[in-house]
Subunit: 360 residues, 2 copies
């Protein structure tokens, strides 16, 4: 991860479950072999699988010292709290990791390398602090350039935060590759960057430059790909993150979108007091995305990714059938049943584009 194969201890103190430790779960799912232990004193002694449904027998330990037996060389701060501030108790653990000569990788809004004490510790011990959310120095303004790339650009969009946009993009990417399609994945958030070893955390970019950053990544990825899968962020319907989501939509200028939703979620997650907005019907959400994308370039939602992690097997199948019936679109839970139907819809659209291009 990020420069070399690592032996990671994942810090997820107090929040290591399937829904709250988003970064830790993502890394466990896609970089499993690099994780040696998860730190969460409230769940010590259990396995990763038992706590979060991923990671098999990887042990959960109470503190960094407990992880030492598994010889980690890197501490990964696997949390992304609203506001991005560092829980004060975690600071001690990070300092301890640096004291032990470990690298530290983090995706916080506040940058650990800018903390004088931590930076001095890292320098003294010859360790690296990697803040993956730090925006690139080069800034550009979006110009709708991504609408003109030859590759087919696909963006995952969502009814809310934390519904499965990154996971869907990664699963579809893998399914396309398995079908022999040259697919590229563009990471736009800290967990995606942990997994893909590159990308830009767009929510940490100054607002004027978000669509430009996305455009640059898409144009770059499109050079050597037939399909570019772009990880979505937030939701155009989220009171806090709608601007980030629209910048992504207009920076990527996707030819197609996959709408992600968590089955059973009825209200948008808002982190402060006050009534949370209701989540609209998926048909309305599809329509709003196609309209908003169309302000820049025409785009269609090709399928739905339904996160059924809160449902049992029977409920999951019913929820999927229900949405497929209502929307007339292919619907899957890519984690539970694979992303094949979504990949197939994309390939069909890709062939259609090629026929159109050939006859033009």
């Amino acid at each position: 991860m990020l420069g070399k194969t690592r032996r990671l201890a994942l810090l997820a103190e107090g929040c290591f479950n399937a829904t709250d430790a988003k970064s830790a779960v993502g890394v466990l799912r896609y970089r499993t072999s690099e994780v040696v232990a998860v730190i969460d004193s409230s769940r010590a002694g259990r396995t990763a699988q038992a706590c979060a449904g991923v990671g098999g027998d990887i042990p959960v330990v109470a503190h960094l010292e407990g992880a030492a037996a598994f010889e980690p060389d890197t501490l990964l701060v696997g949390i992304a709290p609203p506001g991005g501030a560092l829980p004060s108790s975690w600071r001690t653990v990070i300092a301890e990791a640096l004291m032990r000569g470990m690298d530290v990788i983090a995706g916080l809004h506040m940058f650990l390398a800018d903390d004088e004490e931590l930076a001095a510790l890292a320098a003294a011990k010859g360790c690296m602090i990697l803040d993956v959310r730090r925006p690139p120095a080069a800034r550009s303004i979006g110009t709708r350039l991504a609408a003109n790339v030859d590759a087919m650009v696909v963006l995952t969009v969502g009814s809310d935060c934390n519904v499965g946009k990154m996971t869907t993009a990664l699963e579809v990417h893998a399914a396309l590759q398995a079908m022999g399609v040259k697919s590229a994945f563009v990471a736009t958030g800290q967990t995606g960057i942990f997994i893909a070893d590159r990308g830009v955390a767009v929510d940490a970019v100054v607002s004027d430059f978000v669509s430009g950053a996305v455009e640059q990544m898409v144009v770059e990825a499109a050079r050597d790909a037939e399909v570019v899968l772009v990880e979505g962020q937030g939701s155009i319907h989220h009171p806090g993150y709608s601007g980030v989501a629209l910048s992504l939509l207009h920076g990527a200028c996707p030819d197609a979108m996959i709408l992600c939703h968590q089955a059973g979620r009825t209200h948008i997650k808002v982190f402060e007091a006050g009534p949370a907005p209701r989540i609209r019907s998926l048909i309305e959400i599809v329509r709003d995305h196609e309209r908003a994308a169309g302000w820049m370039a025409p785009s269609r939602v090709l399928g739905l990714s339904l996160n059924t992690c809160a449902l049992d097997e029977l409920e999951a199948k019913r929820a999927i059938e229900h949405e497929a019936h209502r929307t007339g679109l292919p619907v899957v839970d890519p984690v539970r049943y694979g992303a094949q139907p979504l990949a197939t819809a994309i390939v069909r659209r890709l062939e259609e584009r090629r026929r159109r291009a050939a006859s033009a």
Copy 2:
């Protein structure tokens, strides 16, 4: 301005005309008595009025030394180039101003106070460098809180950048005050901050926190106002700035909007190569804004502000009549003919809200 009444020299080197020197023109229009000279060597010897249509007899001089006779105490960097970088030749002028003991006020994306040489100079001379685009340290995430304030929130929105959103908000604000309505103006860009002495340049805020910053300002302004006029930024149809515009829309949760457009402009201004998007009909733009606002809270466009600065008197009147006929909305050029019809539409809506509230 910003702490005291100042004697400003406006730096607008090479670009002091009505359309390119946006900040200088705004300051000249609304803080006229504080401006002693404008610096633009390519237009030296003329008056501000002759160059930019505002500022009366205020002289345009070739360099800072030429302004010295008018005893400026502050240099205002009156430009906001795309990307926000500092033209290298301007650096010398800024250093010279500090050497002379003048304060420097700037609205660039790069912060002058972070430049070691300039900061050292300012410290040595006891001068201040004010970077008005520097975002506030406190960060929050938008929660749709502004939808619940008692005051009526009005946002100016646009078909593009640089069409008159700030000017319209300021003119309507003044017209409301003249009608005895307690109105507050919320500045969201560097020129607005120069004029209002407070505000946040939202395009310089990290994208996750834009709607939160707007929400905070609106809630604060609403405490002591009947109407809160929020300065819009960019356009939801602009490939580079759509995210900023949507964050503003969803952070402010306006009850009403005023759509601003420059008569005769057919394509969105994009700063790089590539075909610029066509500007849609104003009816479509109204509809798109009402829909996008509605994702958070219902909102209506109450009127149009048509910037007719490129037209002669007859053309201006025809353009206004044409749009009024097509949209069925009140249409004015507030700079040319005053903002009264827009203020009247707002007051009518305010009374309607009060009747609804009283009968509820």
